[in-house]
């Protein structure tokens, strides 16, 4: 059942804002993971990475669909195909090029750990039944994404000298994009007041503890937080990479917008 009929307008906008933030993260990350299809380091990983990509794009589609219902847009594709980069609300971490396998794993690990804590809290907080139902369903898969990437962090960190160097380098490279995962903005503060979102700044501590433990066990060094931290993606200020990603993702649909493509 559609549970959004009685939401006041201002609240509707907030719900949509939160839905899109979650969905954009997942669509863009899923896109990067999907680039591995057919190019993985072993057949088992071709399967696993495609599986995670499929989950993430599926989560995004479900969240977009709900946003479309609330806003009266035609369907979930509206958000994926007909917005420009200034309207995308994903964190920058997920739009960075896929890099080598170590980079892909380091990113998936950091992002899945973040998603884990975020969803755990969101499920306790969000009152909207339809929204909460989705979160619960997706949470199960996020746990798998987390386990999959964490196991690889151990293997690569404590594997060979080369794998150790590669994954350490990947963590060092991505670290400047972890800051914005936990910085609250005005939209989120208002959403917290209305029980639509959680204080993500409080998630930093458990997240960091988990990352620290994992890296230690993998014989890796936790990168230093005292460095330039990228910010602004949630407000549409992205890296140079997102524009190229969207150009590729959207070109066919936008070239023939009136044709049937579903």
């Amino acid at each position: 059942m559609n549970t959004n009929q009685n939401i006041p307008k201002a609240k509707k906008e907030l719900v949509v804002e939160i839905l899109l933030r979650l969905a954009d993260d997942r669509l863009i990350h899923g896109h990067r993971l999907s680039e591995w299809a057919g190019h993985g380091p072993e057949l088992e990983e071709d399967l696993a990475l495609a599986n995670v990509a499929l989950d993430m794009i599926g989560h995004a589609a479900a969240l977009y669909k709900y946003a479309a219902e609330i806003e009266g847009k035609p369907d979930e594709d509206h958000y994926a195909y007909f917005r420009d980069d200034i309207d995308f609300k994903n964190v920058a971490m997920v739009e960075l090029p896929k890099g080598d396998f170590a980079f892909t794993i380091a990113r998936q690990f950091l992002f899945s750990a973040y998603s884990y804590f975020l969803y755990e809290k969101l499920i306790e907080t969000v009152g909207d039944e339809q929204f909460n139902g989705m979160l619960q369903k997706h949470f199960k898969e996020i746990k798998y994404h987390f386990r999959h990437s964490r196991e690889w962090v151990f293997r690569l960190g404590d594997g060979t000298e080369e794998s150790h160097e590669r994954i350490q380098h990947a963590f060092d490279e991505i670290w400047m994009y972890t800051g914005e995962l936990f910085s609250l903005d005005d939209a989120e503060r208002t959403a917290i007041d209305k029980n639509l979102f959680v204080d993500i700044s409080e998630l930093k501590e458990p997240w960091l503890a988990l990352v620290k433990d994992t890296l230690e066990e993998a014989t890796l060094t936790l990168p230093d937080d005292d460095q330039y931290m990228f910010s602004g993606s949630r407000q549409g200020k992205h890296t140079e990479h997102l524009g190229h990603l969207l150009a590729q993702m959207q070109f066919l649909r936008r070239s023939y917008p009136d044709a049937e493509w579903k």
């Binding site: 057919g38 993985g40 380091p41 088992e44 399967l47 794009i57 060979t160």
Partner: protein, 314 residues
């Protein structure tokens, strides 16, 4: 029993329709033929991920993106259990893989053609998977147990792929003028290469008789090809797609569709590595394999260290 008697007993089992299992005695030639066929089938699934993977990031709707990603994922799965089934014959996956990347092993010629528009993805589902189903339905009854069972599983998923491709092609064929143009253009490019998927004509197929005698196969290349043509012509008509063959004609006497001459010169060239995409496909697969070497080494080294720790602890 001497070899002659063993051979006779083996043939009797085959004739009775019994399945041969990995630990059963089998002629060396039977084992070799199966390794060749099964690994070729596995390589095809893997190389087949490339032309379709080419459109995942550009699929025109989220639904189509997920359908395509799931399909490519299925292909990795098919590759995985075909390699496992082949390993029951006493070979190693890594050696088989290196055999097609750096040696003489083959994969299906069809994947040496490019996917130029999204309609190609629909046509691959309809025609290429359709052709694969014709072949694999027969192989699901193969005399070698593990191969038969792998094909049963594969057929189920391929049928779904075919249905998805055909449905979307039907939408494009009755869609906007641009979509119709893309749909027909894709069929024009893929039709003849798809007919080549069934292999050389029976007159030039050295392995067929032996494979049929051992019931690895039950139909010849030409028989399979004909049944595919008959079925595809009807399906094309139903969605307003034209088959690019001026000689295509229904034969009242045989009850089959007669078709024009397949460009066999092209087939032999592509098979020998000299087709439009052979070099590129192999290059992409070699790159994935070589760039993945450090990952596979790390996983092995980690497993070794872990086992060492466990051994020490106990």
């Amino acid at each position: 029993m001497n070899t002659q008697e063993k051979l006779k007993a083996f043939q009797q089992r085959i004739d009775k329709g019994e399945k041969i299992e990995p630990k059963d005695w089998m002629p060396e030639r039977y084992r070799k033929q199966l390794i060749r066929m099964m690994s070729q089938h596995a390589h095809s699934e893997i190389v087949g991920m490339l032309p379709e993977g080419n459109w995942i990031t550009r699929a025109p709707s989220l639904k189509r993106k997920m359908v395509l990603l799931a399909k490519v994922q299925d292909e990795a799965g098919h590759g995985l259990y075909l390699y496992s089934a082949t390993e029951t014959l006493g070979v190693k996956r890594q050696n088989l893989v290196e055999d097609y990347l750096y040696g003489k092993a083959k994969y299906s010629s069809i994947f040496n053609y490019p996917t130029l528009s999204y309609a190609d993805i629909c046509v691959i589902g309809w025609l290429v998977d359709g052709a694969a189903i014709v072949n694999q339905t027969m192989l699901a009854k193969s005399s070698y147990g593990p191969y038969a069972r792998a094909n049963i599983r594969i057929c189920k998923e391929e049928s779904f792929h075919k249905k998805q491709g055909y449905e979307m092609l039907a939408k494009m064929a009755s869609g906007s003028p641009d979509q119709q143009k893309m749909a027909q253009d894709a069929v024009n490019r893929w039709w003849w290469p798809t007919l080549m998927m069934f292999g050389p004509p029976d007159t030039e197929s050295p392995n067929s008789a032996e494979l049929i005698k051992w019931r690895v196969k039950s139909k010849t290349n030409d028989e399979l090809r004909q049944s595919f043509v008959d079925r595809s012509v009807m399906e094309a008509q139903a969605i307003g797609i034209e088959i690019p063959d001026p000689d295509l004609k229904y034969n009242e006497e045989t009850g089959h569709w007669d078709f024009g001459e397949i460009p066999w010169d092209e087939f032999w060239r592509v098979i020998k590595g000299d087709g439009p995409m052979n070099r590129e496909r192999l290059k992409a697969r070699r790159k994935a394999y070589e760039e993945g070497a450090w990952v596979r080494e790390a996983a092995m080294e980690y497993a070794r260290k872990k086992k060492l720790k466990e051994d020490k602890a106990s």
